[in-house]
Amino acid sequence: MKPLLLLAGGSLLALAAPAAAQASQQAQTDCPPEHAAMGHCKPAPAQKTPPSQTKGSPAADPHAGHAMPNTGEQVPQASNSHAGHDMSDMERTGEKMPGHDAGGTALPAGDAPAPTAPEPDYADTVWGEEAMSGSRRQLRKEHGGGTFAQVMLNLAEYRVHKGRDGFLWDAEGWFGGDINRLVVKTEGSGAFGDGVEDAEIQALYARAIGPYFNLQAGVRYDISPDPSRTYATIGFEGLAPYWFEVEGALFLSDKGDVLGRLEGYYDQRITQRWILQPRAELNFAAQDVPETGIGSGLSDVELGLRLRYEIAREFAPYIGVSWDRRIGDTARFARAAGDDVEATSFVMGVRAWF
């Protein structure tokens, strides 16, 4: 076997031209691997082996495997029932099963049972349980157990429309880990001079229920309009197919009224920093709530189109338009109160998070 290996190495050097010429001429033709390993000599460099050569010394050629890349995507493993398949692939590329491939990774795996898992505390035998337990806790916490917090101003804008100019905000903050989080949401609007017309705040427990969506449950409190209301809330928030950010919630008030909301937006990247965001919010009610001017069914719609420039991911000023429309009974209540049922606003603001 050894002389054969030696011979194969030699013939390879002689034939593998011209690339071999670039390798050092000192590359010995008489350098068997075991000597090379001991540092006694430098073996011949392996080059792409012409298949015919490989066929010449199939039993001993240590380079036979080098033609493997030619087999493209072929999965190299052989297994008890599929060894034949592997062989045929090798023949296809002009190779025969080389002798040395009979062992090592060429062998199929057995089906011995896996051992049962012990406690990963072997270091205690060296350093003692007391010394190790703290660092072991830390290890687990540091690798996947982190907690984070974020405050996000989705919308914070000045609104120019018929009548007094107004303002609007829509913000969210959270604290927690990957799965469980505490979420606070707030949104509201008003007119300069008239103060805040409507404002709400929600405190929610959020839990990841899949790779993209969180389930959220908690309370919502409407600070205005008067009379204020408190709601029990359940909803969802997440990333839908086609990259739509969506959220929805049902609200049950302390007076027994049921409201609903659906919201969504899409970030269309025009360049890496200019982003156009179409956005929609729909509010629903299961019944008329005359005290707050809400009618049953679809009560109002907000459609927006905002163009922002990301100076940084965290800070993006924007301009846009917003079209707000009260629908059905809600519109009737508004007309009766002398309010507009429809407004188109030019908006400018900033989207920011930290």
Binding site: Y122, A123, Y212
Partner: protein, 599 residues
Amino acid sequence: MTISKLDRRTFFRGAALAGGTAAFSAWLPAWAQPVSAGIARPLPTVSGTDIALRIAHQMMTIDGRESHAIGINGTVPAPLIRLKEGTTVRLSVTNDLDEDSSIHWHGLLLPFHMDGVPGVSFPGIKPRSTFVYEFPVQQTGTYWYHSHSGLQEQMGHYGPIVIDPAGPDPIASDREHVIVLSDHSQLHPHAIFRKLKLQGGYFNYRKQTLGGLVEGKDQPLKDRLMWGGMRMDPTDVSDVTGSTYTFLVNGHGPKDNWTALFRAGERVRLRFVNASAMTTFNVRIPGLRLTIVQADGLNVRPVAVDEFQMAVAETYDVIVEPEDRAYTLVGESVDRSGMARATLAPREGLVAEVPPLRPRPLATMKDMGMGGMDHGKGSTPVATDCPPEHAAMGHCTPAPVDHVAMGHGSGGMNHSMRDMSLAPTVKDTATVQTISPMPVDRTGEPGQGLDDVGHKVLVYRDLMALTRNPDVRAPDRAMEVHLTGNMERYMWAFDGEKLSEVKEPIPFIKDERVRVTLVNDTMMGHPIHLHGHFFELVTGHGEFAPRKHTVQVQPGGKVTFDVTTDAIGDWAFHCHLLYHMHAGMMQVVTVRPRTGDGA
């Protein structure tokens, strides 16, 4: 105080100088604008059998800009540790930080309690204390060392190790240079991690745009819709990119132009270490053929290539024979958002042309784990008699399933991209964004974006051990580990469970031989590292399979290796992308004596 003032003045002068030069050469790409004529200083070296190392905060200057860093003995990278096979080395490591630290000797075979992973192999090194590592040096080659505490590695806590053989080196060379590639950011690593957690694609400034669509760049509309339907971004190649990273050679930026000197006609051995936190590099030296002679510290049969991809934590030794002129050493980041650059030159001050960055790659269906369906090209021989359980063990590639059934051509792909029944060992958690429907062995491919570069690129199947492997038994059993992740939540794990969630380690018995298949269920390459062992890649070389300590599992692909678990103790097993590990992509591997051997 005085010293820091002086430093600042020097720094400002340097900056002014650089600014002036930049004005003249504004047409040059950023990485080619000179700050210096080249820094030919090699890494500081420590050697012997009694070595003292001190971990401390320090400043470092990269491309004329000062940064905060953590270094060892005052340098980043940490000094080259030069050891000798057959000796026993004592390394006294003093931690001058205000937090725990550690040093892990990457690729070294040693008693597990000297491996340096806090919480697995030892308690860590407390602030202002000294820990003495002591172990026999029983191997040779190029390795490296780094912190295994928190995110210190990103701040500069890494350095190279070279172990010289007791006898003559089978790899002859006239000269050698150690080349440590790494990535550096002005942002604190915890800030980087937080940004990724809050917005997965935070650092990707090369996404597809409407502007690009109009210009006919990137994917056509149909593909964009299909990928959008799956919530997959084909531009998501690197999590952290050149938008914040500067890529370094031996601690120097591209403008610093670190220079390796040689004499024409010499055989020069370059010992490459990828000590990056997050960056896969594609390495080439235009004009020079690179003969790979060693991978992960172990000698391989020489392979001549024009380029090779270097996963994080891999090492490669390369022989080059340069002529009497300068060459540019290019380490292009896999997403091509930047490059590490150095010069090989016969004299100081010489530079060679710096090639521009090549266009960034886009992920393909194969990167999403649909390689097995790629049979249209006829490049994938597949078995028609491949039962799923064999395919799962990596024994064969099953025949591709019907394209229509997989929902090709429309958004109907959604369901099949997360079919948990394809991976029964994976926990159904929020960490699992996708399950590769048809992962294939990609060890015959050169790596993402390197299929069509027009020259020879190394593939894993080119690698072959120089000598017969010490253990050529058949594996006793086979097992599978899935690499899972969620880019949107920035969660990463093995088999769907983060280390913070796992209930038990991965168990082995001493001297067991196990065939492990790593299945990548994500669209990103993962360099997987097993501590304390080498494993043989199952790439068709039988008893001469290449042995490695770290292996890159290409996006949506899989890799199989055989390992002899001959080192008793507990060992870390993890993705070597620092923030993936920090997010939970880590496990503990236990190797216990056989029953009856005694504990």
